[in-house]
Symmetry: C2
Subunit: 293 residues, 2 copies
């Protein structure tokens, strides 16, 4: 059967990096894309860039869409505009792109159940397409962003099989790698590999500044590619970093606990001059790294 | 006056990444390079690669050199072969390339003073050319490695001005940026920007492994370029990481103390759900990062 994204228009809410990239790729694949944005200036620029077939600041633009992708930042996803919820087509499959899944699932399950009008929590599919660049906003969308990247979904027991299939067809049309898992396991994983590195790198920047003392100019002159790499995500967008921490607080605190234990052990080896143990521990890290690449 | 490296042969002890790259660039600049290596197989391969004009496993190869560069790993630099010390030409300017400076200075000051034979601690210039790649060994040397990279020297009150000038002429012939500072300040700076990132990244790899639990496969599938960057130096050569920690232990422990304080503060904000404070702290890290690049 023809995929839903080919049969009916696809609604995209938000045209930042993820929404804009979706719009470009979906249109290239032959979809009609109807986009809802917040500000008139964004709508105008999105039209100039051709990010969607139709762009509007009026939620009514979503009428007739068979599939709606909520490509909103986490804070707006967790506290959505009531006018957006009111404009969602009752029969539509709805998915999101939030980087934390359990709180999004909880919020939208109850939002859709309370909304009535035939909106069905079973047709909400929680997604996390893991594609990113350093860019954000209406200029950030680019073709091919999702190719070969993971597209994680966290269905529940009650999730409608047809809705899940419709999102899978969308993800695969974009060339993404489909991955299914439990929302809590997803959130634990991203805490460790995505949110913890932000705090680890942010603390390193502050420590290099605070600890330099008389060496203040020198640390800045000598910092090389190793320091730059280790602090890249830690020196990134503070609003995004804060939102991820706020939305994934319990999993992030658990990840910090594990991190502290590992760092404590390394520090103790340096403190006690246990050089063979330190060499073995660093060799473990060296062996682990290729498993994550 | 013609620089020393042009007037007299330059001795290079060790033909790994730094020594091999020195040999290639110095010969290209017109110098005669005499290299001392440990193993016959290394000597043979170094000759094939043209890393020096003359390569030998016999310390006598250094006779007649006006300037000798000790391009040895830290452990061999701090505990050198007595035959090497015995073969150093009495009038030569001697420099090293170790990534930690105070212990090297202490060790070589006494070694040269005890050696007699006219060897003079005042003609030892402690250097740290900050150029690196992931490669090591006789295959690693490459042209242009030092171009635009910092070449830090840590002279003392008694350091001979002519010896310092001779090393400066060498560094500048290779296109390096010359930087002079106190050895303790150098060691504090590299602890923060070079050695601390190794432990920070190594702990992150171990935490991602230890904290994953049921998410073990998922963390490996989802780790992206952000995780890869944050852990690049932490997943590097464990022997090198251990040697740096061992040679720079007090400065590294101080750096770890600063790091812990910064991470504790960030963790407390997450724990207490102080989201505005977390956003401000991450914004500080974002502002700091460009100062280090």
């Amino acid at each position: 059967m023809t995929p839903l994204w080919q049969r009916e228009p696809v609604g995209v809410v938000g045209l930042g990096l993820i929404g804009g990239s979706l719009g470009l790729d979906l249109q290239a694949a032959g979809a009609r894309v109807r986009a809802l944005v917040h500000r008139p200036a964004t709508a105008e620029r999105a039209r100039e860039r051709g990010l969607a077939s139709e762009v509007s600041t009026d939620p009514a633009v979503l009428q007739g869409c068979g599939l709606v992708v909520l490509a909103l930042p986490l804070d707006r996803l967790l506290d959505p505009d009531p006018a957006l919820v009111a404009a969602l087509p009752p029969a539509a499959v709805i998915t999101d792109v939030g980087s934390v899944k359990a709180p999004v699932l909880r919020r939208w399950r109850s939002l859709l159940a309370e909304a009535g009008r035939g909106l069905d929590p079973a047709r909400f599919v929680a997604s996390h397409p893991m594609a990113g660049t350093a860019r954000a906003g209406v200029e950030a969308g680019e073709s091919g962003l999702f190719r070969e990247r993971p597209w994680v979904v966290t269905p529940e027991a009650g999730t409608d099989a047809g809705a899940l299939a419709a999102v899978r067809e969308l993800a695969e049309a974009l060339g993404a790698r489909w991955l299914c898992c439990d929302a809590d396991i997803h959130d634990r994983a991203v805490a460790l590999i995505s949110h913890l590195p932000v705090l680890v790198g942010a603390a390193l920047l502050q420590a290099a500044d605070a600890g330099a003392g008389e060496a203040s100019d020198l640390v800045r002159a000598l910092a090389s590619s190793g320091f730059a790499d280790t602090t890249r995500v830690g020196g990134g967008n503070p609003d995004l970093g804060m939102l991820m921490a706020r939305s994934n607080r319990p999993a992030l605190l658990a990840a910090l606990g594990h991190y502290r234990a590992c760092l404590d052990a390394l520090e103790a080896m340096v403190d006690r001059a246990e050089w063979e143990a330190l060499q073995r521990s660093l060799a473990l890290s060296q062996r682990l790294r290729p498993e994550f690449l």
